[in-house]
């Protein structure tokens, strides 16, 4: 009989009773069991000792997996639609680790380059903190801060979302992981680093020592680990910079013709090029959702406003009158497989439900809780803005030939220094292929990548969504950065047995398991 998996007072192991599934139930994987590290049950205020103890518990789990030659993968909310977090080994469920610290002036390294606006807005969050909780904490009257960007939803953990490249569509900011300036990385069973960029030191070495970590400053190592979907060890905590608190005024314009005005807007991101946005000022956020079935579009435009002291924060999920049920998309997807001719009518019907009221909300309220849904289909292709129109034309033609229950959500992101950031072009247009998960959608995701390839368009794809990456495609898209990322992994995890622990099939299929 094999030895039982070791436990501690706040680390529990449970053998698997059924296959592991991602939140939206589009990925299923047989696995060995789950390790769950818990925050101390009395839920005390976070301090250095709690961080030390939680890290120790995680390293007990890593050691046990290593000794048994079993793989281990840290997961957050399991929000990814790709199999990036899946493992046949042990799942490390980080969802209970929600501690946080305010970084004070005395913690800052003399070389910190953050200006007066950033210095009061640094926070450390443990890996299991939800984006929703980050928003609520930051935007409180006590701290009066905001994230610069986030994904559309808030159910991911901060490390889960950042490790897979979650992005928004903010005109002057990169993806969510560009908030991160320090990473508490557990690199195997007995090493832990407080990793920062050498070019951007933030915390005194004494801060690293206080949480039991070794300070390590290296641009390439940081830029590899910050977006590595669990491949470099376990990211126990991250330190983020934040913005002074602000509000967003959101306007929705729908339906909008897919005409030359819209094409000019997409090609330039200049609001003056479109009659709906002309004269309204600088955009903070722009999303253009093209419905390839009805051949029209929706524009979501947001404008940054100063904070209004009279604004009352309300993050709660609201009940509607009628809408898709929890797994309604799964049923609709099955119907579309039988009757693909119904897809355009469905999307025309769905268009009638768009809420086009102007809203003024905080970022956390705007990108807040969503009605829970299964079988959400979401893939993506990301291209340089200079290739945006050609890409959309090709995808539109592809949809005419191979209808799938998807729309094209165009989002625009500034480049990130992370080595495998898929938002890597001077301005990236991410086309989020969003809709219903079924065989038609999965086939479309694959065909979209093939089509861009055949037309010599350089593209990347979202790591946390359905993607068609292969080693050859990664090399083409990321060039020398793939080698740098692999080298960084070997430096952070020099023992091949440690690298084996933090490997999964997703990495192997993409040539990232070295």
């Amino acid at each position: 009989m094999p030895a039982p998996w070791p436990e501690t007072a706040n680390l529990k192991f449970a053998p698997s009773a059924k296959p592991w599934e991602n939140w939206h139930k589009t990925v299923s994987q047989a696995f060995a069991g789950t390790y769950t590290p818990f925050y101390p049950p009395t839920n005390p205020d976070t301090n250095a000792q709690i961080l030390i103890d939680c890290a120790k518990d995680i390293q007990v789990a890593i050691k046990a997996a290593k000794e048994r030659k079993v793989r281990l993968r840290a997961v957050g909310s399991t929000w990814s639609l790709s199999s990036a977090p899946a493992t046949e080994g042990v799942v490390l469920d980080t969802s209970r680790l929600k501690g946080w610290l305010k970084i004070n002036e005395g913690n800052l390294d003399p070389g910190y380059k953050g200006g007066a606006e950033k210095r009061p807005g640094l926070f450390l969050f443990q890996c299991g903190t939800l984006v929703a909780e980050v928003n609520k904490l930051l935007e409180s009257d006590k701290w009066q801060r905001s994230l610069w960007t986030s994904g559309a939803a808030n159910g991911q953990t901060i490390v889960g979302a950042t490790s897979t490249g979650t992005h928004g569509s903010v005109m002057d900011f990169g993806p969510l992981h560009d908030h991160i300036v320090a990473i508490h990385l557990l690199a195997g069973p007995d090493k832990q680093f407080l990793l920062e960029r050498a070019s951007y030191p933030v915390l005194k070495p004494a801060f690293a020592a206080a949480i039991g970590a070794t300070p390590l400053r290296d641009d390439d190592l940081f830029n590899a680990a910050v977006m590595s979907f669990g491949s470099m060890g376990v990211i126990h905590a991250v330190v983020i910079e934040t913005s002074p608190r602000f509000l967003l005024r959101a306007e929705t314009h729908a339906p909008v013709a897919v005409d030359q005005d819209l094409r000019n807007l997409i090609a330039t991101l200049d609001p003056e090029k479109h009659p709906k946005l002309k004269g309204k000022g600088a955009l903070n956020f722009l999303q253009i959702v093209i419905n390839p079935h009805s051949k029209d579009a929706m524009i979501n435009a947001m404008y940054k406003l100063g904070w209004d002291p009279a604004h009352v924060l309300d993050y709660t999920l609201k009940e509607g009158k009628i809408g898709p049920g929890y797994d309604g998309l799964g049923i609709v997807g099955e119907v579309f497989k039988l009757f693909p001719g119904l897809i355009p009518s469905f999307f025309k019907l769905a268009q009638g439900t768009i809420d086009s009221k102007t809203k003024t909300l905080s970022r956390g309220e705007m990108f807040g809780y969503k009605a829970p849904q299964l079988k959400v289909g979401s893939g993506s292709v990301a291209v340089a803005l200079t290739d945006a129109l050609k890409t959309l034309d090709l995808l539109g033609a592809l949809m005419d030939q191979h209808p799938a229950p998807l729309v094209f959500g165009c989002r625009f992101v500034k480049p990130s220094p992370a080595l495998l950031a898929f938002t890597r072009f001077p301005t990236t247009m991410v086309v989020s292929l969003d809709g219903i998960y079924n065989d038609q959608s999965v086939a479309f995701f694959a065909k979209a990548a093939e089509t861009l390839e055949q037309n010599n368009i350089t593209y990347t794809q979202h790591w946390g969504k359905v993607n068609a990456y292969t080693k050859a495609r990664l090399d083409k898209a990321y060039g020398a950065n793939v080698g740098k990322w692999l080298d960084a992994r070997k430096k952070l995890l020099p023992d091949p047995a440690d690298r084996a622990v933090f490997t999964n099939a997703y990495m192997e299929e993409r040539g990232l398991a070295g």
């Binding site: 592991w20 769950t36 970084i103 005395g106 913690n107 904490l137 049920g325 929890y326 119907v335 809780y369």
Partner: protein
């Protein structure tokens, strides 16, 4: 082919018609871990149930529930129909809710930057 499609669609419709789903979610959900599934049978219109209640004993210390949904599939619906509701099985799915975010702290590393 067309006929087969219609048969498949009718079967899907029939199967769906027997199915039901009810969902309760916290207003600010803090989902924890994987969804758990338990069977429960309502007997004689709820006069009795087996088990009498589903206990979420596998949630962690201090944890509540984030989401609960009750589903009835075609087979469960058929059983309830055949027994005139005297024996009405369903499946209860739930996810635990983590504890609220704790209070924050600071680390004193001494001096000014």
């Amino acid at each position: 082919m067309r006929k087969m499609k219609h048969v498949a669609a009718c079967s899907l419709l029939l199967a769906s018609a027997a199915c039901a789903q009810y969902l309760v979610v916290a207003a600010e959900p803090r989902y924890a871990g994987q969804e758990k599934d338990r069977s429960q049978v309502s007997i004689a219109g709820g006069t009795a149930a087996s088990p009498p209640q589903v206990v979420a004993a596998d949630c962690g210390p201090g944890e509540q529930l984030a989401i609960v949904r009750v589903t009835r599939n075609f087979g469960e619906g058929l059983l309830a129909w055949l027994t005139l509701g005297l024996y009405a099985p369903a499946t209860v799915h739930y996810r635990c809710a983590t504890q609220p975010q704790p209070g924050g702290g600071e680390i004193n590393t001494g001096g000014d930057a």
